[in-house]
């Protein structure tokens, strides 16, 4: 894949949602989030820096995640993002709405 922003082609806010979901399983740094998404989507989703970091900033701005400097598994300095309770709430709420939208679109696309 190239460095493209595929994820946000679906609906606005998709990327934020995906990032929140990926944080459910524990705090991660930026690169780890990218890897997580890639792996769980079976190599379809690859998020580039230019999309990832602004999205992460948005999470911080809205208080859905918190950031802290720590050490990565390779002993390098890295900034870890952690889900906040507000973030958890956001994920739960948005996810339902998101699924509804996608399902609705799918209905349209499946119609004959």
């Amino acid at each position: 894949m190239g460095l493209t922003n595929i994820a946000s082609d679906l609906l606005p806010g998709t990327l934020e949602l995906l990032i929140l979901k990926s944080l459910v399983s524990g705090p991660k740094h930026g690169y780890a989030i990218v890897e997580h998404l890639r792996v769980t989507s079976r190599d379809v989703l690859y998020v580039g820096e230019s999309a990832l970091y602004p999205a992460l900033q948005r999470l911080l701005l809205n208080g859905w995640a918190r950031a802290e400097w720590g050490l990565s598994e390779t002993n390098r300095r890295a900034r870890y993002y952690k889900l906040t309770p507000a973030g958890r709430k956001q994920l739960a709420g948005e996810r339902a709405g998101f699924e509804r939208m996608v399902r609705a679109i799918q209905h349209v696309l499946d119609a004959t």
Partner: protein
């Protein structure tokens, strides 16, 4: 984040409009109706959004329009898919399926990686 209003992205909207025209040509209002009906009223298209999309699609030569007389004897602009449009629709549909499947995978995973 997407709410119940149809906060759909440009690309997705274009795809929906093309899909609506896949069966038969339609006028603007009919397209809106069709999409709203098929999505069980979840997706609501504003006039402005719709006509911007139609203009965009026409400019890219995916659809064409002509003036026809409707059933109740009124003149209306009917839109129909071009060959290019059909091809673009097929490609978009494939892309969409891939993407939404991927996103679903991510959103549904519950095990810790």
């Amino acid at each position: 984040m997407a709410k119940d209003r149809s906060d759909v992205l440009q690309g997705t909207l274009d795809m929906l409009v093309l899909k609506a025209l896949q069966l038969e040509p339609m006028h603007g209002w009919g397209i809106t109706e069709r999409i709203e009906h098929w999505s069980e009223q979840v997706l609501q298209l504003g006039q402005g959004t719709l006509y911007t999309a139609l203009y965009r699609l026409e400019r890219q030569d995916f659809i064409r329009s002509e003036w026809l007389v409707t059933d109740n004897n009124r003149r209306a602009r009917y839109y129909s898919l071009t060959v290019r449009g059909r091809r673009h629709l097929t490609a978009s549909l494939a892309q969409w399926r891939r993407m939404s499947r991927a996103v679903n995978l991510v959103l549904d995973v519950t095990t810790v990686s």
